[in-house]
């Protein structure tokens, strides 16, 4: 490992512009002559639109145009799509009601887009929007997933009877039922995985621009995947053909999944830019983001774990009702199915698993992938059941896990739920976590807390997840409408510097540094001579983008393949110039050497020779420029154990995390500093879900938590310091051996935290606490347990 290669904590190249206020975020961009958009949004959760009167708005000062859903339909603009087909148990395709970008005859959630007002200034657009008169006829609404399937529940879509999107299953029902019938012990839990709002600190924004001379469009958008946006806008929304549409995702201030999807706002701004022949800029106000960014999680689950008399898991049975919201967002259907239930084996050898999922519509904001996307939900189910089983059977929770963990020599391990894990050493991570968390000293710390009138608890989460998404053929077989490969393009300049064009997108992950490290280590070019370009469909080969912890595993691997091609070509050039046979040329540390001699050429000299080919192989093209598309062989499977220790004041319900330990196996670690940062951030979001955050709708479908006033974001004084350890078991399945790290913290932390809270309060009779475990909810749980005991 050099000071700059794989494994080095190289300080980030992108930091300079962010630290000095020279970032280029969407709202920082202004296009000459731009106009501003404001969207008219439904204040009702469910209502018929009897008419939209735009005349006042159209005549308001500065207003250039007002458009409604009818205008889009008249122009043949297609609806917003969902790209993953799920088949129900009866073989039918999932119900996919149409999702127009601007509502035509019905609004279905508070915040649903109804019209766009475009004006010379933002204030004029907002004032104009207030003058659009919509004649709404309010209807009853349904907000809770658990109520959506009930007889008589208000129907969200006529073509989704009973509010059902799909009724899907996975695993072996008969075998699992038999395991339960024969079980020595059954642990069961009812679990709500609370709805979350992503709240990246940069709100979503877009600028749509039309060039009438070229008949071409440019869309600036806060996207994690500009090429996918371009494909969807052209093929499905039909705003422009792909070759006439450039999509640019500049500096983006966080995504966490919420900026994957193709939303109404950028679709309409882009389309409208040709109608008014002015660039049109829209930036979400935070309260708009609350209503319109795809929400996360929102599962209601009944889960049971069957154990034999020795504490071995023999069966797992899960039923989940998953909220899709009012319409299907771009990837919504795969999150509570293939990204969730295929992880239900966890780290364990449970032989019989069955899960069925009913995805339902409600009059709420559409729900889709949010950091972890299905895997936090799966981990929470398993790890809460395991901890509960340990308590019920009087076993130490670490030992119960260890007894059931897949052994380090049992890989590749085929689970009963499709996934085949490549490699791992789960007991080793558990041991390291126990040591770092000083598990041995817990009993004493608990006693000390008790003597101070406080309750101390410790909770585990031995998680596994599937990321590095994903092999295209597998994705297609499971209903995905896209491939999930990635592109990498390396362009050497004559003077020896390199530009990387990657289909991955960085919105905080540090690719400008880590991808430079990959190339530095593979090709021996110093990091400072490597430039990373991403986010512009005009510059970069088609890329699937960044989500699902895939950039290093898939994007990085594509760069490795391109680097291999560079080395192959360089070898031919060096052989010619050094007058040796290709087989005798070795490449190491940036130099091509004739084996056994000191005749050598640096890769920089080779690059120069490629562009100035005076002494050059006859049959070889000039230039040193190679690209590769990489399709992963499998998902990758990071795993580990997190341990959370809490101290609770039983009089107030206040929970304090005194210690948080994470030990993760991410395979090869490119930049430890950056990987630890991903763990910190993920854990903060997971702790946020467990203790602070919760999106609340009232029974009429009104969004009660509509701003930062009501939705508790983790702040510096509510998140602990986090101890991070790593056990590296390189994946055999990609050239770098990386597994991906971006989501693990958010996946593991909620279970560890709630397990700790329940542990602390177990001797007060508390058996579960809802998320978020706010002081109020904890206090209530204590009171309820006390009442039940009487």
């Amino acid at each position: 490992m050099t000071s700059e290669g794989i494994g080095a904590s190289v300080r980030r190249k992108e930091d300079y512009r962010f630290l000095t206020g020279n970032g280029n975020y969407l709202d920082d961009i202004s296009r000459s002559g731009q106009a501003y958009a404001s969207f008219v949004r439904s204040p009702h959760a469910n209502a018929k639109i009897n008419g939209i009167d735009t005349s006042s708005a159209q005549n308001a000062p500065g207003v250039l145009a007002v458009f409604t859903g009818q205008d889009l339909a008249d122009d043949g603009v297609g609806p917003l799509i969902c790209g993953w087909l799920i088949k129900s148990k009866n073989g039918e395709d999932h119900n996919a009601p149409a999702h127009p970008a601007l509502a035509v005859d019905t609004v279905r959630y508070v915040g649903d887009t109804v019209a766009i007002v475009i004006a010379e200034t933002l204030e004029q657009a907002k004032d104009g929007a207030e003058q659009v008169n919509v004649d709404y006829q309010e209807l009853p609404a349904i907000a809770f997933a658990g109520d959506a399937l009930r007889d008589g529940a208000p129907q969200v879509h006529d073509d989704a009877p009973g509010n059902l999107c799909y009724d899907w299953e996975i695993g072996e029902k008969a075998e699992t039922d038999a395991a339960f019938d024969a079980a020595a012990h059954v642990t069961s839990l009812e679990i709500v995985n609370n709805r979350l709002i992503p709240n990246a600190v940069e709100p979503r924004a877009a600028i749509g621009q039309y060039d009438p001379g070229n008949e071409s469009f440019t869309l600036y958008t806060t996207s994690q995947n500009p090429h996918v946006t371009r494909l969807v806008l052209s093929a499905f929304n039909q705003v422009a053909p792909e070759h006439k549409l450039r999509v640019v995702a500049p500096d983006v201030g966080g995504g966490f999944g919420s900026k994957i999807f193709i939303y109404a706002e950028e679709t309409v701004c882009l389309w409208a830019s040709r109608k008014v022949n002015r660039p049109i800029k829209w930036t979400a106000a935070r309260s708009e983001s609350f209503q319109s960014d795809a929400h996360g999680r929102d599962h209601v689950t009944k889960a049971e774990l069957a154990l034999d008399a020795n504490g071995k898991f023999t069966g797992l049975r899960v039923n989940t009702v998953a909220n899709m919201g009012a319409y299907l967002s771009t990837f919504a259907t795969c999150v509570p199915s293939y990204l969730y239930a295929t992880l239900l084996a966890g780290q364990y050898t449970t032989p019989a698993i069955y899960c069925d999922v009913q995805a339902v519509f409600t009059h709420t904001t559409p729900v889709d992938a949010y950091r972890g996307a299905g895997r936090p939900e799966a981990t929470f189910v398993i790890e809460r059941l395991v901890e509960q089983a340990a308590k019920e059977m009087g076993t130490d929770p670490a030992e119960l896990r260890r007894k059931n963990m897949i052994a380090a020599d049992a890989f590749p391990y085929q689970t009963p739920v499709i996934q085949q894990y490549d490699c791992g050493d789960y007991p080793r991570a558990l041991d390291e976590a126990l040591s770092r968390a000083d598990y041995a000293g817990f009993a004493q710390r608990k006693a000390e807390s008790e003597s101070n009138g406080k309750k101390r608890g410790i909770g585990f989460s031995s998680y596994i997840e599937a990321c590095g998404i994903a092999p295209s053929a597998a994705v297609g077989a499971l209903g995905g409408g896209v491939g999930l490969w990635e592109s990498g393009h390396l362009r050497f300049n004559p003077t020896g510097s390199v530009t990387i064009f990657t289909g991955s997108h960085s919105h905080g992950q540090g690719h400008e540094t880590t991808f430079a490290q990959i190339v530095a280590s593979r090709l021996g070019v110093p990091v400072e001579n490597v430039e990373v370009v991403h986010g512009d469909t005009d510059k970069v080969l088609f890329g699937m983008g960044t989500y699902g912890s895939r950039s290093a595993a898939v994007g990085g691997s594509a760069l490795c393949k391109a680097a291999d091609k560079i080395i192959d070509k360089g070898r031919k050039i060096a052989a010619h110039i050094l007058e040796a046979s290709e087989d005798d040329i070795e490449f190491a540390d940036g130099n091509f050497t004739v084996a056994g001699t000191d005749k050598a050429m640096s890769i920089g000299e080779v690059a120069f020779a490629a562009y100035v080919p005076h002494n050059y192989p006859e049959d070889l093209e000039p230039g040193l420029n190679e690209s590769a598309f990489y399709d992963p062989l499998n998902f990758s499977f990071p795993a580990g154990t997190h341990i959370c220790e809490v101290e609770i004041d039983p009089d107030t319900g206040t929970v304090e995390i005194t210690n948080y330990t994470a030990v993760d196996d991410f395979g090869t670690v490119i930049n430890p500093m950056i990987v630890e940062g991903q763990v910190h951030g993920g854990v903060a979001q997971g702790v946020g879900q467990a203790l602070l955050e919760g999106c609340v709708y009232d029974s009429a479908g009104q969004l009660v938590t509509g701003s930062f006033m009501d939705y508790t974001m983790p702040r510096a004084d509510s998140v602990p310091s986090i101890g991070v350890g790593m056990t590296e078991v390189p994946s055999p399945l990609n050239p770098l051996g990386v597994k991906g790290c971006g989501e693990a913290g958010a996946i593991a932390a909620p279970a560890a935290t709630i397990n700790a809270v329940v542990d602390a309060l177990w001797d007060m009779g508390v058996r579960s606490v809802p998320m978020p475990a706010t002081a109020s909810n904890v206090w209530q749980s204590i009171q309820s347990a006390a009442l039940a005991a009487e």
Partner: protein, 156 residues
């Protein structure tokens, strides 16, 4: 009805025509084209807009531009000198105190003011001071580490 407002921003006298309802953050971003100061919310909680007014950190979304008539305003763009990072900026870089960078200008401006008030803040004091700065990416662990290091560097 537009009014004229004048102040000193980053050491330079500036003035502009604004509607009375214009926030200071809008004046900075739109009139002065200093886009390093960011808008992240509409309820004055996120802190992405923190600047210094007359030497103290203030959320620029809580000030009307006209309230700052004659004031001395400093934004993130004023910290680095001749291309060299301020010790607090350098500390953030060395300690990975930023990921997407969107909260960073407000975070750094807030941190610089903390150290002015309290040259050797403890971890707890740093965490409490940052109550008005939301970060979604870092989990704050490395921000706290950066500010500790930045404070030490600023103490010389």
């Amino acid at each position: 009805m537009p009014v004229t407002v004048s102040m000193t921003v980053n050491g330079k006298a500036v003035s502009g025509e604004v509607e009375p309802r214009t926030l200071l953050v809008q004046f900075i971003r739109e009139n002065l084209r200093l886009t390093g100061t960011h808008v992240g919310c509409d309820t004055s909680q996120c802190g992405a807009c923190v600047v210094h007014i007359n030497g103290t950190s203030v959320k620029s979304c809580t000030q009307l531009a006209v309230q700052c008539e004659g004031a001395e305003v400093k934004t993130i763009e004023s910290l680095a000198t001749d291309g060299e990072l301020h010790p607090m900026q350098e500390a953030f870089r060395q300690n990975h105190g930023l990921q997407c960078g969107f909260c960073t200008p407000g975070m750094v401006m807030s941190a610089v003011d903390l150290v002015k008030e309290n040259p050797d803040p403890s971890e707890q004091e740093i965490r409490e001071w940052l109550e008005g700065n939301i970060c979604r990416c870092t989990g704050y662990h490395n921000i706290v580490k950066s500010i500790k290091a930045g404070a030490e560097a600023m103490r010389g």
